[in-house]
């Protein structure tokens, strides 16, 4: 399975490419007033405003580097397809020796708040599901619900 390997602070994250719409460089973001800590801001993606979420932990202070990337994923909300960005650092593709995420989940014995903990030549990383990171209550704040909602496409 092909994953997008990136890092947030000192953690390395592996995101399955099936859930990724596109990877773009860091762009200028407009943060709304009184927004929550995890919301970095909005930018215009192909004619529509898209929110960008930043993962903050105790170790992870928000940085501003040339190698920052925004991973875009899409949700079907209120019968619209909405794009949500995730701010990471140094994204690159990597082939994992598993058929899919379930197989990897069975192989990895340890779980973290991000997902399953796995190992490779560079060390430890978390195989994560974007629905785990972008929690429903975050989406409720970003897109106030009027109808039903589906998972990532």
């Amino acid at each position: 399975m092909l994953v997008l390997m990136c890092s947030v602070g000192t953690d390395r994250l592996a995101i399955p490419v099936q859930s990724v719409t596109e990877v773009i460089p860091r762009v200028e973001l407009h943060a709304p007033l009184n927004s929550p800590d995890w919301l970095a801001g909005h930018f215009v993606y192909r004619g529509h405003p898209a929110p960008v979420v930043v993962l903050t932990t105790a170790m992870n202070q928000a940085t501003n580097r040339l190698s920052d990337r925004i991973i875009l994923t899409s949700f079907s909300i209120n019968s619209h397809t909405e794009i949500v960005g995730l701010m990471v650092n140094g994204a690159t593709t990597q082939e994992l020796p598993y058929a899919d995420a379930d197989a990897a989940g069975r192989d990895g014995s340890m779980k973290s708040q991000w997902g399953t903990i796995l190992l490779d030549a560079s060390g430890m990383f978390h195989l994560v599901d974007l629905t785990t990171i972008l929690r429903p209550e975050m989406l409720d704040i970003l897109f106030p619900p009027t109808e039903g909602r589906e998972g990532p496409q």
């Binding site: 092909l2 997008l4 773009i24």
Partner: protein, 553 residues
């Protein structure tokens, strides 16, 4: 004793005189007082005369407060037969009654003694009152009716006589009490006089002691310090040498002030002597110095005489040396001219060197500007490297997105996935190569900066050299000028030397005159030395005179 004879007495004598006067006055006053008391005291002559007079009156006159006369009139009335006489006796009786009432009222108001008052005013009065009432009620009406004498007498005996007897008893008691009181009063009077006499003697003795001690204290307070002062001043008058002794002043009165003033006077004399002593010492040392200086001057004059002779000889030698110096100066002048020519040649060489320096500076500046151009170019390369880095980053992103799309396409995208991976590898290599270029350009830039700095330093040194060469050239010019001036001065010196030679002869003549003057001065100095010695001896004598005084400090 007059005032003038008083001032001849000493203070102690005056005090004794005052005490004696007081004693005489007091004793005479006491004796006079005693005489007066003797004259007027109780049982004294005057008192006896007054009492005698009172006794005579009391013995002769019938007492109004004692009703014996009234009783006699009643008895007379009883025996009288003539009507007219009876009427007169009744009137007499009534007058006596009125008189008794008046006296009784008087005694009632004035008498203070309780015992006598009771016997006289109460015990004797009540029977007297009843007596008068009985006479008026019974006897007088019976007489007027013309009753017989026996009946009247009977009436008097029964009604009147008992009252009279009662009254008489009370009066006797009163008299006894009064006599006792007089005796007591006389004894009290004697006691009073004796007590006051004793008091006078005691108070007089105490006063005498008090006045005597105060006089003694005052006399002592004046006499003792005055004696001290007189002794001290007498010492001073007889020429006592010790000026440090002072009178001890213990009081602040006039005597104390006088003592303080005498002390201040002695202090003034003391200060004066101290100053005179210091001045004497200075005078002595100064005269000694003068004597020494004058004898030294005398020696100096002798030396001066010898020196003058030597100088005269030396002047002759100077004249000869001057001639030789003139010849030497001519030689020096010709050599100075040669030095001037050599300095000129050196200066033209320096000018050529300065020009070369200027050319070197220009070349350095040109190299510096070329190095600046190289630095600008390196900056251009930096910009290109940044652009390449950005392109490589974009290519990397593109390859990632392509790989994602290929993975999503599944099996049909496999081939494309390989291409995308290859593109990413190329992009990574580009990034690494760019990093190398960037590093090389940075090295080059630092090398060029170091070169520019070195060139600047070199250029500055060249400028400094050029400045120094100019300075040396200027100094050479000054040397040439000075040598030329010196050459002229040598000529002047030559002329002056000739004039000096003539002047030396004149000096020789002047020296002869000076030697004559010196001899005269020497004799004068000798006289002065003798005068200074006399002065020193006089100062010595003054110092011994002043030294007799003892002073502090």
């Amino acid at each position: 004793m007059s005032i003038s004879s008083l001032s001849n007495l000493s203070f102690r004598g005056r005090m004794w005189l005052l005490l004696a006067a007081f004693l005489v006055g007091y004793v005479s006053l006491h004796v006079m007082n005693q005489q007066m008391v003797q004259a007027v005291q109780v049982n004294g002559p005057l008192y006896d005369r007054i009492v005698e007079g009172k006794d005579i009156v009391a013995d002769i006159l019938p007492p109004p407060e004692y009703i014996i006369e009234s009783y006699l009139v009643v008895l007379q009335l009883v025996q009288e037969t003539d009507a007219e006489q009876r009427q007169a006796l009744i009137q007499r009786f009534q007058a006596l009654q009125m008189e008794y009432d008046v006296r009784h009222k008087f005694w009632e108001e004035t008498l203070k003694d309780e015992k006598i008052r009771k016997t006289l005013v109460v015990d004797s009065f009540l029977p007297a009152k009843e007596f008068y009432d009985a006479v008026n009620r019974t006897v007088i009406p019976a007489v007027k009716e013309g009753k017989p004498d026996d009946e009247l007498l009977q009436l008097v005996r029964s009604e009147v006589q008992p009252k009279y007897d009662q009254h008489r008893k009370a009066i006797d008691e009163t008299v006894a009490l009064s006599n006792q009181r007089i005796k007591d009063d006389e004894a009290a009077g004697k006691n009073t006089i004796r007590w006051w006499f004793t008091m006078q003697v005691v108070v007089g003795a105490a006063l005498l002691i008090l006045v005597g001690s105060i006089s003694f204290a005052i006399g002592r307070g004046i006499v003792v310090p005055t004696t001290l002062m007189i002794n001290r001043v007498q010492d001073m008058a007889e020429g006592a040498a010790d000026l440090t002794k002072r009178i001890q002043v213990t009081s602040t009165d006039e005597v104390g002030q006088l003592g303080n003033l005498i002390n201040a006077l002695i202090q003034k004399i003391h200060d004066l002597v101290v100053r005179v002593r210091v001045s004497t010492i200075e005078l002595h040392s100064t005269s000694t110095e003068i004597a020494a200086a004058s004898s030294e001057q005398s020696n100096t004059m002798t030396n001066f005489n010898a020196s003058t002779s030597q100088i005269a000889a030396a002047v002759k030698e100077i004249t000869a040396s001057g001639q030789e110096l003139v010849r030497t100066m001519d030689d020096v002048q010709s050599r100075a001219t040669g030095a001037s020519a050599l300095a000129d040649a050196g200066r033209s060489g320096l000018l050529g060197m300065e020009e070369s320096m200027h050319r070197l500076g220009d070349a350095t500046n040109s190299i510096s500007s070329k190095l600046g151009t190289i630095r600008d170019k390196a900056s251009g390369i930096n910009m290109v490297v940044t652009t390449i880095t950005k392109v490589a980053d974009q290519t990397n992103l593109l390859s990632i997105n392509a790989a994602i799309e290929a993975e999503k396409a599944g099996e049909s995208g496999r081939g494309f996935l390989v291409v995308a991976r290859e593109i990413r590898r190329l992009a990574d290599q580009t990034a690494v190569a760019t990093l190398d270029i960037e590093q090389m350009v940075r090295h080059m830039q630092s090398a060029v900066s170091a070169g520019v700095m070195e060139m600047d330093k070199f250029s500055q040194e060249v400028r400094m050299c050029s400045g120094k060469v100019s300075e040396i050239s200027g100094q050479m010019a000054q040397v040439i000028e000075q040598v030329q001036i010196v050459s002229e001065r040598f000529q002047n010196v030559n002329d002056a030397m000739r004039q000096q030679s003539a002047g030396a002869r004149q000096i020789d003549e002047a020296m002869q005159q000076l030697m004559t003057g010196c001899k005269q001065v020497t004799s004068t100095v000798r006289d002065f030395t003798a005068a200074a010695t006399n002065l020193r001896e006089a100062a010595q004598g003054l110092h011994q005179e002043v030294g007799r005084f003892t002073v502090s400090g």
